[in-house]
Amino acid sequence: MPVQSLQNTDVIVPQHTPHPLLPFLQSQSQTTLTRLYQRPSSCLSIFRLLGPIERQLIMNLLWLESALSVATISAWVLPEGKDAYDSALAVMTGLHIAQNSAVKLALNPTFKSSLRQAITGGGSTGSFGVPTDKDGKRQSANIENLDAYALERWETILHYMVSSGQGQNPTKPSQGVLYLLQRSGLMNNAHGPALQITSSGFQFLLHSPHDQLWNLLLQYLHMAEERQMDLVEVLSFLFMLSTMDLGREYSTEPLSETQKAMLEDLRDYGLVWQRKTSSKRFSPTRLATTLTSSSPPLPSSHSTGGSHTADGTGAVALSSGAAQQGFIVLETNYRIYAYTDNPLQTAVLNLFITMKYRFPNLVVGMLTRESVRKALGNGISADQIISYLTTHAHPQMRKNNPLLPVTVQDQIRLWELERNRLKSAEGYLYKDFASQADYEYVLAYAKQLDVVLWENASKRCFFGTLEGHANVRGFIERRTGSV
């Protein structure tokens, strides 16, 4: 019956994990959001970050002049999709994109007119960035250089993080980046003056570049709030960058003071490129232009496989597939062959494997109990190791089904379980009951409250949770009082 089961999985509603930025936006006030929605580029970018159902609902409502009754809209929804629809509606009202009264549903008028303007073009908001004229004297940065620049900046940050615990001295990123890393809790200086990577920092390293980027930007946004920067300007600048065209130069003239200050920070992260700090023009890099997409923000971390760099706007869509090629081969004997000469990738692998040999383009290592336990001790979970190995698997591995050897996956999970043999809970031990009947009576009451964690009838004692203590104590006191 394989055909049958395939069809069944088809029916399952696609799961969409909300974008990390959305909760942040939802926590903002309605006035902030409405100001943000005045810019068409912001509306377009936020629209892209939403889930597929939200997007379709917005589109359905976008060209309607009047509000629709809720009953009409829910008639579109199939019974199986009710939950998904409800949560989509909740997201939209949370972001103040939709105005939901009990009977009518309409889009926020500001959002509506801006998104319309984004789609049809026109207007005079200039929210997609003012391009500069071609400069005859100096050649503008080409896409290859921009990619190289972004990659270099980004890897400097990651490499600094990964090697901080190993007593090496890699090139330091700028002071602003260091502060951000410290603020986000990815690194701290608990042990001496030098910054040390934390357990959340280790987890961060195994995320996809896209998640890493947003993670840092979110921290940046939180910081911007504290630095009294206008959040609307910060956000709309990020969204503007995400709608810009790679390989072009834009003018800094129309930017506000806040946004000019941001340019400096974003240059450090590798999101924008400028010839000189004082330059009147800037170019977004691929890190910036792919902010609202799921395509890989970095061209390729391979310096050996550099033949795949995209050479024009048209080729990007097709070549991005080749650029994402993995490099890890994992065998059933726990051996890992990583075809890479990139020090960052080697350093990340070193977090959870024992290195055996290194060649100019190949690193060979083993997944051992010690190496995996070291990683687990650093706060990395088994699932993160497995998902890292999956996303970076070599194309040759893709022929296998399942992709990673099951034995190895299971063993990594078992090593994780090994650490979880002890479970700790705070609570109270009740003992020295006068009679067996007493003990059973109290125990039955505690069980009713569902607060019993452990019991031992022969010793006449049991262990209850902290929350249940007041109730259980009161019960015992009432009982002893009444006797």
């Binding site: 597929p52 629809y85 073009g121 129309p254 792919t290 609202t292 799921s294 991005s320 597939g321 194309p395």
Partner: protein
């Protein structure tokens, strides 16, 4: 991770039909200019939905079909200049499509009789294109989780011409290849009478066929019915036709027939009984009368 979706749009650009459609004697006259401006907004909405969404536009012109726009390759060298008020990909689609349609119309010139529109040619090209992008070359075939590989390709046909019974066989062949490729074919009948073959195309590929009743609300129709990828259609319903015309065209005179005669060997359809099947030359010597072929009712309606 949500996958990118691919949309191939086929625009029927028959000059005669568009001229008729713009006549003010219609209840809702729709000129090609208004049609294009609404279509472009729809195309932009598709690109807006996701950065990786791919789009191809084909035009079915009299006697030939042309590629008007493709998101994976640049068709014209003159990239429109950037301006601060519009998103470059949108501008690129709009200017390329309009410019190329104008070029094609200019090239048509004076003709005694307009040849029929090459709709099938455009459908076939769209299928070839989808085949190319869903099965990338063997070097990258292994990268299964690449988000730029599309998973539910769709074709949207915007039709204004009536059925062309001579294209029955090629259209059916195109439908069968679409089924094999798991391509959904949506049809929007913008002007003219219902077309039997396109109804069948939409039905057989699980797409939706919509006859545009309020032609002034074209964009709303397009967005609500044809923008959502198949995965979303399981949550937000799109209209499906309740009645489908299953009639076929006979192989001998290319007429659409209610009752046909089917060859018992090769299943070819004829409008009248023949002693010898013209497709497979099957000759029934056992039969006494001329009714060699079994009559077969083709008139069914879908419940």
């Amino acid at each position: 991770m949500e996958k990118a979706s691919h949309l191939s749009v086929i625009v029927d650009l028959s000059p005669t039909q568009w001229h008729l459609s713009a006549q003010t004697s219609n209840q809702y006259p729709l000129s090609i200019e208004t049609f294009l401006s609404q279509l472009l907004a729809f195309l932009n909405a598709h690109i807006a939905s996701k950065h990786e969404n791919s789009l191809v536009v084909f035009g079915a012109l009299p006697g030939k079909s042309v590629l008007l726009y493709s998101s994976t390759e640049l068709l014209s060298d003159d990239v429109p200049s950037l301006d601060a008020n519009s998103y470059l990909p949108f501008k690129l689609v709009d200017s390329t499509v309009v410019q190329r349609i104008m070029n094609e119309f200019d090239a048509i010139g004076e003709l005694e009789e307009e040849p029929s529109c090459a709709l099938v040619g455009a459908v076939t090209k769209a299928l070839c294109y989808i085949n190319r992008i869903t099965h990338p070359s063997s070097t990258t075939a292994g990268v299964a989780e690449d988000p730029s590989i599309v998973h539910d390709p769709r074709i949207l046909i915007l039709s204004v011409s009536p059925d062309l019974s001579s294209s029955y066989i090629p259209i059916m062949n195109a439908i069968f290849s679409a089924q094999k490729l798991k391509v959904t074919i949506d049809v929007c009948k913008v002007y003219g009478p219902d077309t039997v073959f396109l109804q069948q195309a939409a039905h057989l590929t699980n797409g939706s066929y919509i006859y545009l009743e309020r032609r002034d609300a074209l964009l709303q129709y397009l967005i609500m019915s044809f923008l959502s990828p198949t995965s979303i259609r399981k949550i937000l319903a799109v209209p499906k036709q309740d009645k489908i015309d299953f009639r076929a065209a006979c192989f001998c005179h290319k007429n659409i027939v209610d009752i046909g005669f089917v060859c018992s060997v090769c299943l070819s359809i004829f409008c009248q009984p023949l002693p010898v099947c013209s497709t497979c030359s099957f000759l029934s010597i056992h039969s006494n009368d001329s009714m060699l072929l079994a009559p077969f009712s083709l008139l069914q309606t879908h419940a």
